[in-house]
């Protein structure tokens, strides 16, 4: 099993980002995903900064992947995406099929990100033909769905053409909108957002009127209220999942990473903390826990 750090979903100040990746450089992660995937207005690091960071981190023994935006609306965003896909050095995590089209044209290998709807074997077969090296499973898919899909590809001798990665820790990106919900929570529109996401390094919690933690607002993204946590499910990933993804957190990311690495060897059950869940993996509602 390999372990990855997914692209940071939140908006942090430049110094915080730099410090995070200094730690990442010496961490036990095998793969590091870099880049802004949520909102093009988040520019603490610009494209050249991300590329510099990628080159710096590439000096370690880790694989560096450039992650790209999930929701592209403006032509300027598409142009920036095109430049990423033509960087000539690093492979791309595509979070929109537009990125796959650019990678295909540039003959660049890509990771199919979790925001792309690749739900089944025939779709994955086509993506392999386009240069897909790794499939990050869509967040709502569980073990049985993934297993059946991979078994089908195995029968076609395609299973060894790509790796399979799953987000195993962190709030799940559940939806993307034209609207910025963080700005709305401060009574402003997206055009007047004042980059307020930077004040919420873990997003903003949304509770029901009965105080159940439902969602996390993260700009135009809505995340799960619970932290997805598959630490009890690593054994059931054997021969199925190749890469376990930890989504960067404002605190304790590397402790969590080391804990997952340790749990691969010592898989005793531990009760999940409050507001953690693993429902999707078990093919039930995402917010539920087994």
């Amino acid at each position: 099993m390999k372990f990855s750090l997914g692209a940071n979903q939140y908006y942090w100040p430049k110094a915080t980002i730099a410090e995070f990746y200094q730690q990442a450089a010496t961490s036990n992660a095998d793969i590091i995903y870099l880049g802004e995937t949520v909102c093009s207005k988040r520019r603490e690091l610009r494209q050249k900064d991300w590329l510099n960071l990628a080159q710096e981190l590439a000096k370690t023994n880790k694989q560096i992947v450039l992650s790209t935006m999930a929701l592209l609306e403006a032509p300027s965003e598409v142009m920036l995406l095109q430049k990423y896909c033509a960087n000539g050095e690093f492979i791309i995590e595509a979070n929109d099929v537009g990125a796959i089209e650019f990678c295909r044209q540039n003959k660049v290998e890509f990771v199919c990100g979790q925001a792309i709807n690749a739900y089944n074997a025939p779709a994955l077969k086509r993506l392999v033909g386009m240069g897909m090296q790794r499939w990050v499973t869509p967040v709502e898919l569980g073990r049985d769905w993934i297993k059946q899909t991979l078994d089908e590809l195995d029968r076609q001798n395609l299973r060894d053409k790509f790796e399979v990665e799953i987000q195993a820790y962190g709030h799940l990106p559940l939806a993307y909108s034209a609207r910025c919900f963080t700005a709305r929570s401060e009574n402003r529109s997206k055009d007047e957002c004042q980059l307020c996401c930077i004040n919420y390094p873990s997003g903003r919690l949304v509770d029901s009127q009965e105080d159940k933690q439902l969602f996390v607002l993260n700009g135009i993204q809505t995340m799960s209220g619970d932290c997805y946590n598959l630490s009890n499910d690593i054994a059931s990933m054997k021969n199925l999942i190749d890469v376990i993804r930890i989504s960067p957190q404002a605190e304790n990311t590397f402790t969590i990473l080391d804990d997952f690495i340790d749990r691969e060897q010592h898989s005793e059950y531990r009760k999940l903390p409050a507001n953690h869940s693993n429902g999707y993996w078990h093919e039930i509602a995402g917010m539920q826990t087994i």
Binding site: L71, E140, L172, A175, A178, S208, G279
Partner: protein
């Protein structure tokens, strides 16, 4: 500009034809369509009747096969594609790459429209589907501003279809898992958002409560209109503020934008609501027919009638309408 109307039943097909639809979109009564609700949609016999009715009047039939195929069950999606081609549908509306691949391979002559559930919001994404799956039209997700729709229209010569009226998905369609997070069932996997079987209503001392899989979505006082608990339209708390954190119950209404949409070269305006009644289909079709005809008769002086707005407001969620993402201030 084509007026494309929804139908979940034969009476709705008839209502749309009677009131001036140019084209009608429907789905089969199975998990292959994104409005898979009990008692709705068309079995093998009914779909033939619908096709006959529509053909007799020289109108166009579009068939939505726009969920994502479950492993081991791909035959259901193939069956829907085969059936749609067999009955002579003008267009197939497809989202899943697997289904697009099947249709392009087996029926290269078939007209395929990229479903909104495929979430193609930009030129590169459109090129992806066009170059790999030979689509002829794209249904745009409800995330673009009018300015962005115009920009996109200038960049591509593919036919563009937009949502013009109806329930407002505020998330990029096909990329929203809020429903499966709460219930285990989503538009992508089973073709339903906030499915009715998880809905529960209860009158309590605190008001009328609506729940989805036991999660409190909203609580209404006596003087408030209660709406279906679509989970993105609930009232929730962010810190100490209680408000519609994502969106209020409201419907999209772009009847004011007809001139702008026409100038942006939009091929088709789509009315949402296959799950709504024949009476809804009749009203919306009639008013949109009037509006498009009025615009085409005198494009320079088009203005939406006050009476249309009032009538459309009455059949809208929460009795209110919005321009949604087309208008930047909404975003």
């Amino acid at each position: 500009m084509e007026l494309l109307c929804p139908a979940g039943s034969l009476p709705a097909v008839k209502a749309a034809l009677e009131h001036g639809a140019d084209a009608i979109f429907i789905g089969m009564n199975n998990e292959t369509n994104a409005r898979h609700f009990a008692g709705l949609n068309f079995n093998d016999k009914r779909i033939l009747q619908a096709a006959d009715l529509i053909n007799q009047q020289n109108k166009d039939l579009h068939i939505a096969i726009n969920t994502f195929a479950r492993p081991g069950d791909f035959k259901a999606w193939k069956y829907s594609v085969d059936k749609a081609v067999d009955i002579g549908a003008k267009a197939l509306i497809i989202a899943d790459m697997a289904v697009l691949d099947y249709a392009a391979d087996k029926y290269p002559e078939a007209e395929v429209h990229l479903s909104v559930q495929a979430s193609a919001t930009n030129k590169a994404a459109i090129d992806f589907y066009r170059n790999n799956f030979n689509i002829q039209r794209v249904v745009l997700p409800r995330v673009l501003s009018l300015q962005q729709v115009k920009q996109l229209s200038r960049q591509t010569d593919i036919e563009l279809e937009v949502f013009a009226f109806g329930s407002l998905c505020i998330m990029a369609e096909g990329r929203c898992y809020l429903s499966s997070y709460l219930t285990g069932e989503s538009p992508n996997t089973v073709g339903a958002c906030s499915p009715a079987k998880f809905v529960n209503w209860q009158q309590t001392d605190d008001g009328l409560e609506s729940r989805l899989n036991d999660v409190l979505i909203d609580r209404y006082q006596d003087d408030e209109n209660a709406g279906y608990p679509t989970l993105c339209k609930g009232r929730f708390k962010v810190d100490d503020s209680l408000y519609h954190a994502l969106e209020e119950p409201t419907s999209l209404n772009t009847i004011d934008l007809i001139p702008e949409l026409a100038k942006a070269n939009i091929a088709s305006v789509k009315i949402e609501g296959r799950q709504r009644s024949p009476a809804y289909v009749a009203t919306v079709t009639r008013l949109w027919r009037q509006a498009i005809d009025k615009y085409q008769a005198d494009p320079e002086n088009y203005q939406a009638d006050e009476s249309w707005m009032a009538e459309l407001g009455n059949i809208s969620e929460g009795s209110q309408t919005t321009l949604g993402a087309y208008h930047r201030s909404w975003q």
